[in-house]
Symmetry: none
Subunit: 192 residues, 4 copies
DNA sequence: CATGAATGAGCCTTCATTCAT
DNA sequence: AATGAATGAAGGCTCATTCAT
């Protein structure tokens, strides 16, 4: 643990703030710390103490999602087939990004406020490197696409799915899968 | 001409406002009408008279780009090969979107404030339909991707290229071309 | 005539402005010289030349009403019965004020911008003095109420009728008559 | 207490804002929340927190006056004589309206923003109904005038007194009393 | 004389952040 | 540590009036 242990009431507040933040994000509301405070029935300053900036809260909300992606990527590496490993992971990643609105902004920004976020993103980058590297080694993926393209491409797919006029989140997820399918098809090196 | 002819001084102000708006947009600043007024050394109300909302200015800035795309799409239709027609047009479109920051937001929003913008977007949509339709008919493009996916995909590619950390606009354009290449590769139906 | 003779086109503009102003006032819109200009399809400066301030236009609009009241008051003086003279005139005056929204503000303000308005108000004041004076002389009106109270009382009645929630102008007029009746009843000195 | 207890500093600010608002209203200035803030040496948002709209402040300023009128009306009902009860109350009401410039606008508008204001006005309306009802029952008041006329008439008298050119507030109050006297005289049904 | 574009003060309102309690 | 009131910069917009054409 990098965080100091919290007093019981502080921990309860932290919890409530995070829950409210999640609810707001899911509802599409941009995070306003004042809002969060009011909704969580907590003083503004309390929110500010726990999360000095909106980004800090955002990244905290994104953390579980990032961690899941990390373990998902690690699991993917245990798949012996480099191609299915990459493919399945990317589908999982896109699904996560469509489902959890905090991931895209955290991925899209080059600089993060929480060290933990930076660390997770770096670990992910490393895992992407391995996934891509194995695929390159197996000559199943276009060598022009590198580790550094994974995040942009995922963000692009999520963005595209949001631009497509869709009634609900299910439709958006389906659209995103469709777009990812195209990209995977384009990435794959075909054996003649 | 659909626009009423402006008086000389009014035209000069219009010009200055548009130029300032362009400069701001290119610099990545969100358009604020007060800002624009100050920078253009023009009264606020003058800006408001010409452009009642920030969107009106944005769409005005986007108009030349949209018109170019329209004629580019029309030209593409004169290419006999459905595939190269589509491909070349999409490269041109992506280039435009990377180069001109007003296009993405105008494409991404479902509703526009200037009738002319709506008209241009509709004409473009029609042309996309033809381009895609010809490609489908020639069985060179995945039937799962339709006219309605063109704009989202283009916006997604532009977004992805912006997420990719790039020093300058040239690099971003190159990245976007790379991503578009992948997508085109994925779209193309391959003859066995 | 105190006004210089206008050129034909100027006269036509003057006419249109006044008509538009009347329409706006009747519609309950506060007079905005820009509005007037646009609605009258006339330049703002044209309006400003004819009517340097909103008040000038307002008073111009009020002029016919004031003149009518003057002649109405003069006519009243030819009624031999001081009481019915006063009473009938006040009913006419109240009706005018309810019907023509320009009168109340012109009456209510102590200072006017058009000399003609001042003159008309003074003539009216003189006539009120005569009407009231005759009534006092005939001992049919409470001596505590003087010439200087006529305008305030009329304005008060009109205001009261506007406060009373009324669907339409007819109802407001009826209410105003009801209130005026009460006041006349209160004014009249009753022979024991 | 219906209001939540305020923190000491908040209460002090509330107080200052109300005092400044009162001073402005008494001076005839229309209430502008920015003005109030500046004059009270308080942040704009502080004013907005306490009073979301100018009307909210106006009604708050009017509250004590309304409450006094309510209790005055209740007291009037303990007077056994329906006529003197009504008369004395109306004199008190007019005096309040002349003295406190917030009352007329609050009375004159059909819709209020503070529930408390609405409640007070409704209580007053009920009391008016009783006062008038008793007078009607005793045949001392013209049946054509009903409860719904009280507020308009009072507002009308106050307005009339303000139209009458008066040096100071004392004179205006005297004028208002004079006008009310006329109206009461007109209302009273005279035994033959 | 006529036009209508331009002006900019001024009002309203929101929000991220600080600070007294 | 928690609270939530206070702050004030900042942005949006309108409108009476002036001035170039």
């Amino acid at each position: 643990m990098t965080t100091a242990p919290l007093r019981k009431d502080a921990a309860r507040n932290w919890q409530r703030i995070v829950e409210v933040g999640r609810r707001l994000v899911d509802g599409g509301t941009p995070i306003q710390l004042n809002d969060v405070a009011r909704t969580a029935s907590v003083g503004v300053a309390t929110v500010y103490r726990h999360f000095p900036t909106p980004e800090a809260l955002l990244e905290t909300l994104a953390t579980p999602g990032l961690e899941t992606l990390v373990s998902r990527a690690e699991r993917a590496l245990s798949d012996d087939d480099p191609w299915t490993a990459l493919r399945d992971f990317l589908f999982a990643a896109i699904h996560a990004q469509i489902t959890d609105a905090t991931l895209s902004p955290v991925f899209a920004t080059p600089v993060n406020v929480l060290p933990h976020t930076t660390e997770l993103k770096q670990r992910l980058a490393g895992l992407f490197g391995q996934l891509i590297g194995r695929a390159h080694a197996a000559s199943t993926v276009d060598p022009a696409i590198t580790q550094a393209d994974i995040v942009p491409l995922m963000c692009g797919v999520a963005f595209a799915a949001n631009v497509h006029p869709a009634a609900n989140i299910e439709d958006r997820a389906a659209t995103a899968r469709r777009y990812l399918t195209v990209i995977l098809e384009g990435l794959r090196t075909r054996e003649q």
